[in-house]
């Protein structure tokens, strides 16, 4: 009888014993708490960091088997991340939320969205240098897209063991864009360049153009980079629903209910990949470091490209708008506006930066799509 009682009580302390024996789980629980702190207290991407942090804590509590076969988190992971469904559903929501009007009014700013993707490919090269495999390097480089769902889509497909590190890097650095970008913007430009006033002529865009835009981009982009069509098609489907104006129920569901539910599940699943054994490796630190470099390089290349446009336009372009050619929408555009107004109170860069930023959003998807199609062309993926 006494033995049975002791065995029963032993079951209640087994979790503590297992935790005491595994220092990595303790560290990961602390990391989960830090992510929760950043999300709740510092308001850094709380929609993602709160479920990621909690998922991280859940998966590191020993003996709970949440990621074991048929475990609660494993079921969600297999249904939405393994199948790549979650990032695509989020993309439909992003498309439904995004107004591509500013970029349609000034199509030249679209090119800044391409320049902002240079970081992806330069970081890929660096990751190869650090000894990562080709597909791991692709997944690390994609952090430079500054686009969470794209990074998750590519990584879950080609380097699922890096999903936790890549996702945390992508979302953390996106939240840190207002901190990371301004010093680079100041270092890369002169006072006179930063003070340049750009005139904005609000060119109206017809409804027909707005409706045709997602259709044409899907068909054209799909033909050029068919491997990335799930990404491009889902964001453009959301945008077509928005601009058509005839399926407002679907548009609202995509940008609210569906996006919210999927964000919750996706965050939990990312957290669930952060078990101590998988996450606490030198490799993770390198991924986080390379992710940071990728975002910095995006900013540098965007500004350099805008400087080139400034030369070609006879000094009419403020190179700060180049920093907005990344996917962090509309945060990067707001950072540009805030920096510009510091140096010239008459400078109003927001609409130009919004064009570049919307271009960056499409640019990051196109970069990922092109990358996948080039990989397929080289026979590295099927």
């Amino acid at each position: 009888m006494l033995e049975a009682i002791l065995n029963g009580l032993g079951g209640l302390v087994a979790g503590f014993q297992a935790l005491a024996l595994d220092w990595r789980s303790i560290i990961m629980i602390v990391i989960g708490c830090i992510l929760l702190f950043l999300g709740i207290k510092k308001d850094c991407e709380p929609l993602l960091l709160v479920p990621i942090g909690f998922g991280c804590i859940l998966v590191n509590i020993p003996l709970s088997d949440l990621m074991a076969k048929e475990g609660f988190l494993r079921v969600i992971y297999d249904a939405g991340v393994d199948t790549e469904l979650f990032p695509l559903l989020i993309f439909i929501g992003i498309g439904a939320m995004t107004d591509f009007g500013p970029v349609l009014a000034q199509p030249s700013t679209f090119l800044l969205g391409a320049a902002g993707q240079f970081g992806i490919f330069l970081t890929l090269l660096m990751a190869l240098f650090f000894g990562f495999t080709k597909l791991e390097a692709v997944s690390i480089g994609i952090i430079g897209a500054c686009d969470g769902p794209t990074a998750i889509y590519v990584t879950s497909k080609y380097a699922p063991h890096l999903l936790g590190a890549v996702s945390v890097a992508a979302y953390s650095y996106m939240a840190l864009v207002p901190v990371i970008q301004p010093p680079i913007m100041r270092a890369m430009t002169t006072q006179a360049e930063r003070a340049t006033v750009m005139k904005y002529k609000a060119r109206p865009v017809s409804k027909t153009t707005k409706i045709l835009f997602p259709l044409v981009i899907t068909i054209l982009g799909g033909l050029i980079a068919p491997k990335g069509l799930p990404l491009l098609g889902s964001i453009m489907l959301g945008n077509l629903m928005r601009e058509s104006g005839v399926v407002s129920r679907l548009t609202k569901a995509s940008e609210n209910e569906i996006a919210n539910v999927v964000t919750l599940f996706l965050g939990l699943c990312i957290g669930a990949t952060m078990s101590g054994a998988a996450f606490l490796r030198p490799q993770t630190l390198i991924v986080l470091g390379l992710g940071f470099v990728a975002i910095c390089l995006d900013t540098v290349c965007g500004i350099l490209f805008a400087k080139g446009m400034r030369v070609l336009s006879g000094g009419k372009i403020n190179p700060l708008i180049g920093a907005a050619g990344i996917s962090a929408f509309p945060m990067a555009a707001r950072v540009v506006q805030r920096e510009g107004i510091k140096y010239n109170k008459k400078s109003y860069l927001l609409m130009h930066a919004m064009g570049a930023n919307a271009g960056g959003q499409v640019g990051s998807v196109i970069a990922a799509a092109v990358m996948l199609s080039v990989l397929a062309g080289m026979g590295i993926i099927s």
Partner: protein
Amino acid sequence: MEMDNTTFGLTMLICGMGGTLLTLWIMSLVMTALGRLFPEKAEPKKEG
């Protein structure tokens, strides 16, 4: 024969970045064309 990392990285840089720039440039041309083909019409003024 498997491609070495340097060749792979440089190919990705050239084809990937070049492809992205080219695709977005074509798309910007298409958007310009769409804007010209379907300009925003001014709303007719209501009488009375």
